[in-house]
Amino acid sequence: MLWVDKYRPKTLDKVIIHQDVAQNLKKLVTEQDCPHLLFYGPSGSGKKTLIMALLRQMFGASAEKVKVENKNWKVDAGSRTIDLELTTLSSTHHVELNPSDAGFQDRYVVQEIIKEMAKNRPIDTKGKKGFKVLVLNEVDKLSREAQHSLRRTMEKYSASCRLILCCDSSSKVTEAVRSRCLNVRISAPKEDEIVKVLEFIGKKEGLQLPPGFAARIAEKSNRSLRRAILSFETCRVQQYPFTNNQVIPPMDWEEYIFEIASDIMKEQSPKRLFQVRGKLYELLVNCIPPEIVLKRLLYELLKKLDFELKHEVCHWAAYYEHRMRLGQKAIFHIEAFVAKFMSIYKGFLIATFG
């Protein structure tokens, strides 16, 4: 089993990072009824872990007995019937799903699932909660309509259904939804916290960690704990015993984006743009989300960029990222950004060096 999964804390008591948050959550669910919750924070900070631990805290070990189902919904929307199919992860007490997978029909999913849960209300036995929990992942990816329909249903059926929403950035969740939830911000772990965790794992696995090695991994991990543990294990697979100057391998796709960035910096021509397009397609085809591609690309570009251009380039990156969200064909927008960058950078080079 991978270390990330092996050493994931199962209960709120066992968490190493965000202990304060964990304790608060514990108090919240043990003392009183639980409100709707919205967890947000960067990836790899432990949201999911906390949610699972929280569920266990609420319902006991039975919350861990989950089964995977492909659920079908037939939604009657006006004249036509929409067939929806989603993978859900459910136990007797909770259902977890990723509504944004349904694309722009996500609002039907949100409505249906909540109503379904409200209908099959658990019999109120002693010591058990009178509600089920619905865990919705990636709420920031929900379409605006879905979020709107969510805000009504989450109030209407709050007696029988609690929502736990989980997302990377709360800014993409509408105000209305946010205000109906208790917002829990899970910040990215600090580097020394990550080092602590890595050392903990190293000890458990019986590994010899060279001094500073964990710190290097933590530094490379971009403050994502998951990332850190995964690359830690990758290093382990690659070479053991560790050496001090061992390279910490980046992800394939990151390397690829790095290549793209250096391509762009080297030459700004239609030909190069064409090649870059091919590479971008490659990334997208391999299921790398376009936002990540754009963000990473900007990150790589900024590293090599002259200071005076940084602001402008950032502006355009943000501009195109926003538009990418409005649009549908991500490649068009990324390409537009690349073209824009090339045009700016080329102009700059010629103005400076002639």
Binding site: L2, T87, K346
Partner: protein
């Protein structure tokens, strides 16, 4: 019986025709002698018939053969009296033509001849004296010399007196005998005419004079998009002055262009040659006169040329040739003389105007006056020219014998044979006929002609029928062709289909009675693919008719692969007509032009033929249209005219993109651009997006380091991205009013910014627009997401993993792969296999998942994670995994997939869940109704129409229980949606749905 049916047809369609025919029928006396005199020439008589057919717009209208033959006889008579010729058919049409024009306004026509003398035409009538004119006017065999001369006398004197009449004559003649038009031209437009005349003369001079400015200007523009390979720009592009010579100076010469020329783009050179009457072909042959090339690149063309001894010609040489012709022309006396004459004319014009008017008035009055005199004997002479002249040329020059049909001769012959043998095959001894030759062309009872419009399907069908003495009954899209009504009480006449049935089935009676005397009938079903909504059951009925038919049926359609005709095709012999080649068309067009007195050179006609894309009808129409305004048509005229008004054809999105991005794409009109980009609103933007980088914008003049081009590309990319956003609004929120903006942003703006010549960006790429890559990439992406989904589900069900897909893809993937592949590379075989299988089991990763993970982590130009793994190890892994899967009783992932069952997991689960789901949906409907009402209405106003019938049922259901029961069965599903809007039926529908539950 047959007569009766024909009457019905007449009743429906042909009352007018009846009237028209009546007077003609009154005088058969004239007809008979004519027939006797030409009776020997059977082949020429039938073409005449077809002229008749052409005049009456459809074969069905022709009520009797006699009318046709009678008219035709006169023509034949005329022909006999005229100069005999070997090619009678051609000749006869040639004779008919000028004679009408002359009869109506002789002066005009004669003047015409005078006016249009061009130095090159060498027409003998150019300096015709009045007396000669008179002769040519009357001599062309109109059998009523007396009246004719009378009118000529009246006209002649003024005509001679005034040369000023010339200017006008041209237009009048071209207009072709429409009295009213004449008046207008005559009175009001006199001045205009003059102006025009002067102008045209000027044009001629300019052309010959080789105006430097014009040449230079044209030289400036580049030839534009070059689809073949990458060709360098001409080294001295636009630097040389392109000469202009006489339009015929390269007549009869054939050129082949090879390599890069010195200053001209290839298209320009081609244009130049064609403009001067030369031909340009693609490859060198014996006929090639010159190989035009500036540098010997040693390609195939030059090799062949050397072998064949073809002369080489440089661009300068070509220019010299053109210039040379020019000089000789400038010194041409005739030219100068003519100019002087023109000036004189204009001077005289004012003085002569009044007189001209008088003369014209006289002439016009004289014609109607004379006609009553002629009425008894020569009525046809007056009538016919008036009739034929106003006819479109397409009718006038319809083929009259089978050999006249352009192209498709073998098909026509096949049709002929089929029709000829029809009776033998199907009426007499049908049993044996069917048995022995199933594959023979005679085996099918009907025939289906297919082909693009304007290539002569209907014409050949009719012609063949006429040649074989069949009487054609045509039913086309203008008739309602629905299913025959079984209720006969209404009378058969009420529906065309019924009468067809009658016709088709009862023919046998006639045949039995005396088949030799009665004309045989053939049913032509035109435009069968047009049988649409109005003709319900039309095709099925047609098939039925074919089955029981006693007469041959010819069906005609454009698209034989049309879905509607699928069933029909099985009952028909299929003949696909092809487009005639442009040479064939040009030949025929030349005949027509000659007959009409148009001066058109062959190159121009070929250009016309190629522009109309094989549509003869279109070509003739264009020619006639152009003949209205000019007497001499040159290559340039056709190019100019057809550039814009080219045929509306199905344009491939590639062509559209190419046109938009053409070097001269900036000159397109906005609506043209719009048309181009909306020719396929889905594909064009994608192709543009794929290719816009490849264009070197022509708007950027000097761009050494490519900054400007890069800027333009950035703008174009931005605009394309805009279009994407707009598209989301259109598709997702149905805001179709944004469609024009989307088109503008996605296609027009990028094209406007970047149009220019295309260059290749990758070695070995062909210089064509690539197909939009987005579609393919998107579908691959979709596939990969699905695979990832499966992997994700499997991982989830291992209960070790509870993260999103995205995390899986971004972060887990590499480690997972490493865990699965690294042992295979480093460890010994058995150990490694064991370890990997164990790992896969732990995460319940199946063999397929393994492969899809591999596929997803592959990046182009990076090493495959499986590289370095020995094939033996891979095989061992697969084997081990399969063994394991047998012994594994329940894998965690088997919650979804049972081992050994290959059925798609989703389907199976769905099947298990179905009963539950039904209940869910039903209940949810009610609960959801509140929220959904608004949504449902938003979703589509178009749905409302569909909803209405349902609502009707529901409202009925409130009245009667019986109906309610029905609606319970059908309407419950719809009920919730309907309730929001359905007024009366609401209660009932709601109650019924509730009760059901």
């Amino acid at each position: 019986m047959q007569g009766d049916i024909r009457k019905w047809f007449m009743k429906q369609h042909d009352k007018k025709e009846d009237n028209g025919n009546a007077p003609k029928a009154a005088k058969p006396t004239l007809a008979i002698p004519g027939k006797v005199s030409t009776g020997k020439d059977a082949s020429s008589s039938s073409p005449m018939k077809s002229v008749q057919g052409g005049q009456e717009s459809s074969g069905r209208r022709k009520t009797s053969k006699y009318f046709a033959s009678e008219k035709q006889n006169q023509e034949v008579a005329k022909e006999v009296s005229g100069p005999t010729s070997k090619r009678k058919v051609e000749k006869s049409s040639a004779n008919v033509q000028p004679s009408h024009a002359k009869k109506l306004h002789t002066v005009k026509d004669d003047d015409d001849d005078d006016d249009f003398v061009l130095p090159k035409t060498g027409k003998s009538s150019s300096d015709a004296t009045p007396s000669k004119k008179l002769k040519s006017g009357s001599g062309k065999g109109i059998p009523s010399p007396s009246t004719k001369e009378e009118s000529d006398d009246v006209d002649d004197t003024p005509a001679m007196a005034k040369s000023s009449g010339r200017g006008r004559g041209r237009r009048g003649g071209a207009v072709g005998g429409r009295g009213k038009k004449l008046d207008d031209d005559e009175g009001g437009d006199g001045d205009d005419e003059d102006a025009k005349e002067v102008k045209s003369a000027g044009r001629g001079r300019g052309g010959r004079g080789g105006s430097a400015a014009g040449g230079g200007g044209r030289g400036g523009g580049r030839g534009g998009f070059m689809p073949f390979g990458e060709r360098k720009d001409p080294p001295h592009k636009g630097e040389k002055e392109v000469p202009e010579g006489s339009p015929q100076c390269l007549d009869g010469l054939t050129f082949v262009i090879s390599g890069t020329l010195d200053s001209l783009e290839r298209e320009e050179a081609e244009d130049l040659i064609k403009r001067h009457g030369g031909r340009v072909t693609g490859s060198v042959s014996k006929k090639t006169t010159y190989l035009l090339c500036d540098e010997d690149i040693g390609g195939r063309k030059s090799e062949t040329a050397k072998k064949l001894g073809t002369k080489f010609l440089t661009e300068d040489g070509l220019f010299d040739m053109i210039r040379a012709s020019n000089r000789s022309k400038v010194t041409n006396k005739e030219e100068t003389k003519k100019q002087v004459a023109n000036k004189e004319e204009t001077n005289k014009q004012v003085a002569g105007k009044e007189e001209t008017k008088k003369q014209m008035d006289k002439m016009i009055t004289s014609v109607p006056k004379s006609s009553p005199q002629k009425a008894v004997k020569k009525k046809d002479d007056v009538r016919k020219p008036a009739g034929t002249d106003s006819l479109p040329w397409t009718e006038k020059y319809k083929p009259k014998v089978l050999t006249d049909i352009i192209g498709n001769q073998s098909l026509v012959k096949q049709l002929n044979d089929w029709l000829k043998n029809w009776n033998e095959n199907f009426l007499s001894g049908s049993s044996k006929g069917k048995g022995k030759k199933q594959n023979d062309s005679g085996a099918k009872k009907a025939i289906l002609l297919s082909g693009t419009p304007g290539i002569g399907k209907t014409t050949s069908a009719k012609l063949v029928s006429q040649m074989l003495g069949f009487q054609t009954i045509e039913v086309n899209a203008s008739d309602s062709r629905g299913k025959a009504d079984s209720k006969i009480e209404k009378g058969i006449g009420s529906s065309t289909a019924n009468s067809i049935k009658e016709l088709v089935s009862n023919q046998s009676l006639n045949v039995d009675m005396n088949s030799s005397k009665h004309p045989k009938a053939v049913l032509i079903m035109d435009e069968v693919d047009g049988m649409s909504a109005g003709d319900r059951g039309g095709v099925a009925d047609l098939i039925l008719s074919i089955k029981m038919s006693k007469i041959p049926i010819i069906c005609i359609c454009n698209d034989r692969y049309s879905q509607k005709l699928k069933s029909l095709v099985n009952y028909c012999l299929l003949l696909s007509f092809h487009k005639p080649t442009k040479q064939q068309m040009a030949k025929r067009l030349a005949q027509v032009a000659k007959t009409e007195g148009l001066q058109v050179n062959e190159v121009a006609l070929e250009e016309l033929a190629s522009r109309v894309n094989g549509d003869m009808r279109m070509a003739l129409n264009q020619l006639q249209y152009m003949s209205l305004s000019m007497r001499e048509i040159k290559y340039d005229d056709i190019r100019k005219r057809l550039l814009n008004s080219s045929k509306d054809e199905d344009m491939s999105p590639f062509t559209a993109v190419q046109k938009l991005f053409d070097y001269n794409g900036g000159n397109l009109r906005m609506d043209d651009r719009f048309d181009l980009s909306t020719s396929d609103p889905d594909l064009v933007p994608l192709i543009i997006q794929e290719n816009y980088i490849n264009y070197r914008p022509s708007s950027v003049k000097k761009d050494e380091n490519g900054v400007q081009r890069m800027n333009l590309i950035a703008r174009a990319a931005d605009s394309i991205a805009n279009a994407d956003i707009i598209n989301v609004q259109i598709r997702r929120y149905q805001k179709w009013q944004l469609f024009p903006s989307s088109t503008l942003q996605s296609s027009i703006i990028p094209a406007a910014l970047l149009h220019g010549s295309r260059e290749i960006l990758e070695q070995g790429e062909r210089n064509f627009n690539r197909f939009g890559g987005w579609l393919g990439k998107n579908s691959t992406m979709g596939k990969n997401y699905r695979l990832l989904d499966d992997v994700h589900v499997h991982l989830l069900s291992s209960l070790q993993f509870n993260l999103g897909r995205r995390t899986l893809c971004l972060e887990y993937l590499s480690l997972l792969l490493k865990q699965m592949t690294d042992p295979l590379k480093t460890m010994s075989k058995d150990e490694a296999v064991e370890k990997v299988v164990e790992f896969m089991d732990e995460y319940s990763i199946s063999q397929e998942d393994f492969e899809s993970l591999m596929a997803m982590s592959k990046f182009q130009g990076r090493p495959n994670p499986l590289d370095g793994v020995a094939p033996a190890v891979k095989a061992a892994l697969t084997k081990a995994y399969k063994q394991g899967s047998k012994s594994r009783v329940i894998r965690t992932a088997d919650l979804i997939t049972l081992p050994g069952i290959k059925k798609a997991p989703k389907k199976r689960v769905a099947a298990m869940l179905e009963p539950i789901d039904d209940g869910v949906v039903g209940d949810a409907d009610v609960a959801q109704n509140d929220e959904n009402n608004s949504d449902a209405e938003d979703l589509g106003t178009g749905d409302d129409e569909e909803e209405k019938p349902k609502l009707d049922i529901e409202s009925l259901s409130s009245k009667g229980i019986q109906l309610q029961m029905e609606s319970k069965a059908t309407g419950t599903k719809r009920a919730p949606a309907g309730r929001g809007r359905g007024g009366g039926g609401r209660g009932a529908a709601a109650s019924s749905s509730k009760r059901k539950r």
